[in-house]
Symmetry: C2
């Protein structure tokens, strides 16, 4: 094919952001900006004009933002997303013949050349007027006549190069040979809570009176406790009937006692399955009331969706093809040899009978949406097929764009990132196992300074019912403070599993294990929420700081600053306009006082090297005056292992008095 | 759409090499390898199998190479390209149920579990036999019977985990739910000369007797001179009739004398155009003979294709729509204001009448192909539309895959790289203006250590008829040696414009200019090829070193080694098997002796830190013994400003005598 029909001389390439050649959308939350850059150029010396085009996916027409040229043929523009759902963006560029002509005229010296150029310009104006063909092009025609008239060269050149003409011609671009980038790229716009959220996980059955199974009503009664700590997402493990066949006993023992309550993740019994509520927790009505009351406290309920069944789940009886059978006729239970989970049957996603299975799974999400749930924490999504997630999340978010999906994929990095690209709004991370300064810097750099940040929103958890790290086991109370401050200031999304966390529960089931002793996964615990050594006030302070400082409500601005002590980590976050600027220093050593020099990257913080600045520690309320990049810090873990400074540039001095004016 | 028909559980992503999401092919030369890597994984714990598929584009079926797992879900395989033209490659992967089962069986401990696993294995074998349905699956069925028999568990487990069964099952993979990567990627395979070539540019008209216009026959007579210097590409500026209208005079003067010969790039007169030969050079028959004779000397002829016309080119008369008219009726000449080229009319590629223009341009290439030319040096391709090049090069190489196109695009980097992606086999570079150590390291790192190397083959020229750099103007004879050694050892493709180069011609037309005084572009020069200060023997030595050392015949292995003197640059190149290893040290200061310590990256060179190695300087024939990473070098520009060492690991010592055995 001869490309003679192809008049497109402009090349558009190197578009960013663009994930996997446009295969996946990027993510934003309501009100955020999308900054788009591209390499745009044409053959020869002609000038190029370039616009960023964007629209809500369902809208018919594009909005356009002119792109401005940076250097080295790089162009940039941005747009703001103001509605939840999907946006599209692409780029269109064309050779701007008027601007090319104007640039050349500007370089002309010889009057003969200028005369010819003016004649050519007049021609171009006439052609434009003819092409546009509107009545208000009379002005243009008049200019054309003037350019080709006998008037003085200087006068005509002045009009030719004038802003008025340039402005008018920019209104009538000749885009007949424009190049439009070959891909329409997508943005998924989520609720703000997808970017900034503070999660609290609890087992409702432990929140009753001593020796009684807790209920939704008990949780409802404790909402003020959770609110006082400042959380805005309340996450409940599965609330469905728990299987009785092969039910695990306390501490995950293979054979339980008759009164053992079992694991909430062993879902389903003769009382019902994924759309039923465990009768000991209350009724569906109770649940809906809890959802509503929590919302009144500014708290959204997050539900755990674990796509697996106890042996006595109704699905097992009603849909035998949804499970794998072993040669002895029994159903295949979950295994990761030599580990066995006899109380759990995984779905057989390779079954020939997939359609009803997929539809049923979707209906589970829809059912809880109808009960008021807007956030789903999905259990082990990496053990289910990728196409399932892309379909389900796409289906749900098409009609309910505000829904948030948290991926609990503690698995290999490539799989974790793929799930994020497939549509999960947030993801658990490796944070729990990143403890040293270099580990934290490396991991956060990957999350916030590479393409990963366009689609993967980390949610940092210092503990979960499955994860009691060695750092927490051995580090004492200050270890909990350290990990809380790190989670809540490094990541805009974070969460704790409580009350185990605020009560510094730190005993593992056995040495070398990351499982809790007497884990709530298998038994009811009674927590003394009012213990004097509880961290609840500290947690409350941290969450208040997060709420009051927009710098901590997103992750892109994170920068690390050098320190000369491996146990001291220092980093900053700021709003785009730098009006809110937070500087954090943490002593990673939970046992000793550590001191040293931090060296701030003043340019990154837009601080002048020769003016002092004030640091207000939002944890201790102390204030410091610093000057220049190098400053001394000492943090005693026994007192408070971290500073969270609000940094203020403006310090009153004698220059503020009138007589300096 | 419910993805229930989609059984593909394997994800394939992050494929490398892949240019712009598969929009452009990568490049290789005959016999080279294509190493392909990808991230490949599935949900859950199942084992994955993965093959690289490749074929010549016109072949119907794929060859397959099993990919091997590296770490972090990365897989790798390679294939060799053994024919010129286009290859395709992609990746197919699937969940390997047998391997998954085998891995699990390996972890089983409980005899009851092992028994069930064996039964499941037997089932899998039976299913496989049924699916394959061939007579030679009897063995498989026998194994299935044995696995499910009453024989001892240990005996059956041994067979189940045995290599024989694994080998057989690998012959019958179940690929019904295989994922094939969504893109077929392409490789353009060129002649070896696209990777390794030594160019010599000359103006034939200067090669006659004094005061006579040189001819093809004169060049033919001097082929031994060019051969002695070791070049294998002879590049001639345009050989067509030169326009007489507005012909430029000596030193690019606007008005020439009647006997001025004009610029060969002002193509066309009443005697003919792009398919004609300047009568003073000889006949078409002479040209064909020169091509053939050169080939006998191992030299390929490269022709200059400059898509532009002198005002008296027949095209101007016969195809008025191929040129832009100015308002005064004259044809628009080439301009880059305030510079003017009144002797040259560019084509108007935006004309409505493009098809005959494009076809004519294609026919120019085909015409010279028929005369035996296999290499085209394309003048200023960046001032012609990109779609033209992609089409022309695609068309020509489809039928003539051995043809090489060199892009003379001295323009902005993005445009330069785009032209390479569109199909140019080699490209001029910024080498001429990269003189300091850091400039050279930065530029070569970009060319050889980034994705650029997959599609952009640099051709390094220390000088051209348009480029006499300040370094050459002021650096004296050793500056020419320095730049020659750098060009010929940093880049496998390089060239010089001679005899200006070997005769160290260094006077610019005026101070601050990069144009030669009395440039051959506008007049006939008489060169004394036998001057005693000629670098011809030095050039010959360098080219012999290049020919004899395969390490210097490609660019991917280039590594820089630190030195403690900014004027000393040190780098190495090696063959893949390290059998040929070249180490170069150059004194970049053409005025002074420079000395210092070089610090070899021993790991990169696979040298042991505790054994000595020998350096044989292929320029001076001197030999040195070095030991460990740090060694001293002194280079006197007045003597010889560079070492080109062949590095030999094996050094005889007393341990080689029998009594040490």
């Amino acid at each position: 094919m001869i490309p003679t029909k192809d008049r497109r001389r402009v090349v558009i390439e190197g578009v960013e952001p663009e994930i996997d050649g446009g295969r996946f959308p990027i993510k934003r939350t309501l009100g955020e900006r999308v900054i788009v850059e591209a390499d745009v150029f044409a053959d020869g010396h002609d000038a190029v004009a370039c616009v960023l085009q964007y629209r809500k996916e369902q809208d018919p027409g594009w909005h356009e933002a002119p792109m401005r040229s940076l250097s080295n043929d790089r162009w940039r523009a941005e747009f703001q997303v103001t509605a939840m759902g999907r946006y599209r963006y692409t780029i269109t560029a064309w050779v701007d013949h008027f601007l090319s002509w104007r640039n050349e005229l500007n370089k002309r010296v010889d009057p003969k050349d200028i005369e010819i150029a003016l004649q050519m310009g007049a021609q171009l104006l006439q052609e434009t007027a003819a092409r546009v063909g509107r009545s208000n092009t009379a002005w243009l025609k008049k200019q054309a006549q003037f350019l080709s008239s006998d008037d003085a060269l200087a006068a005509r050149t002045q009009v030719a190069l004038g802003e008025a003409l340039a402005y008018k011609m920019a209104c009538y671009p000749d885009r007949r040979s424009a190049t439009t980038y070959e891909r329409e790229l997508a943005v998924v716009v989520d609720d703000e809570r997808a970017r900034f959220s503070s999660w609290y996980e609890l087992f409702p059955r432990s929140w009753g009176a001593v020796d009684r199974h807790g209920t939704f009503k008990d949780v409802e009664a404790e909402l003020p406790y959770i609110t006082a700590m400042g959380f805005d997402v309340l996450y409940l493990p599965p609330i469905h009937p728990i299987g009785r066949i092969n039910r695990k006993g306390k501490n995950n023992s293979l054979v339980g006692e008759p009164d053992d309550v079992g694991s909430p993740w062993a879902i389903g019994s003769h009382e019902g399955g994924h759309k039923s509520i465990h009768t000991d927790l209350g009724t569906l009505e109770d649940f809906r009331r809890l959802v509503a009351k929590a919302r009144n406290h500014g708290i959204e309920m997050a539900l755990d969706i674990a796509l697996q069944c106890a042996p006595d789940h109704p699905y097992v009886r009603d849909h035998p093809t949804w499970f794998r059978r072993r040669p002895d006729g029994t159903v295949q239970y979950a295994e990761n040899p030599p580990k066995k989970y006899q109380d759990i049957y995984p779905f057989h996603f390779e079954t020939e009978d997939r359609r009803p299975l997929y539809e049923e799974i979707k209906s589970v999400f829809l059912f809880w949406l109808e009960q008021g749930v807007r956030i789903f924490r999905v259990d082990n999504p990496h053990t289910k097929p990728c196409p399932l997630w892309e379909w389900i999340i796409g289906e749900i978010k098409r009609d309910h764009p505000q829904v948030i999906f948290l991926s609990e994929a503690f698995t290999r990095p490539k799989v974790m990132y793929r799930l994020a690209r497939l549509g999960f709004s947030q993801s658990y991370t490796y944070f729990a196992w990143r403890n040293t300064k270099q580990e934290l810097i490396d991991y956060l750099t990957e999350l916030t300074r590479t393409e990963v940040r366009e689609y993967f929103r980390p949610n940092f958890w210092p503990n979960t019912p499955d994860i009691l790290t060695e750092y927490l086991q051995f580090g004492g109370r200050s270890a909990f403070q350290v990990r809380l401050v790190l989670a809540g200031t490094l990541a805009a999304n974070y969460g704790i599993y409580g009350p185990a966390f605020e009560l510094c529960e730190h005993t593992p089931r056995e040495p070398g294990s990351e499982e809790y002793l007497s884990s709530e996964k298998y038994e009811i615990r009674n927590w003394d929420l009012n213990r004097t050594d509880s961290l609840k006030d500290f947690v409350g302070r941290l969450n208040r700081i997060r709420r009051e400082n927009p710098a901590l409500q997103s992750d892109c601005s994170l920068r690390f600053h050098p320190t000369d002590n491996e146990q001291l980590i220092c980093y900053s976050k700021a709003t785009e306009d730098m009006s809110n600027l937070i500087l954090v220093v943490v002593n990673l050593d939970p046992w000793h006082l550590q001191s040293g020099w931090v060296e701030l990257l003043l340019d990154e913080l837009r601080l002048e090297p020769d003016r002092p600045y004030q640091l207000h520690d939002l944890l201790s309320d102390a204030r410091y005056l610093w000057h220049g990049p190098k400053n001394y810090v000492a943090l005693d873990s026994d007192v408070l292992p971290a500073h969270i400074f609000r940094l203020r540039r403006r310090i009153r001095s004698e220059r503020d008095f009138d007589y300096f004016m």
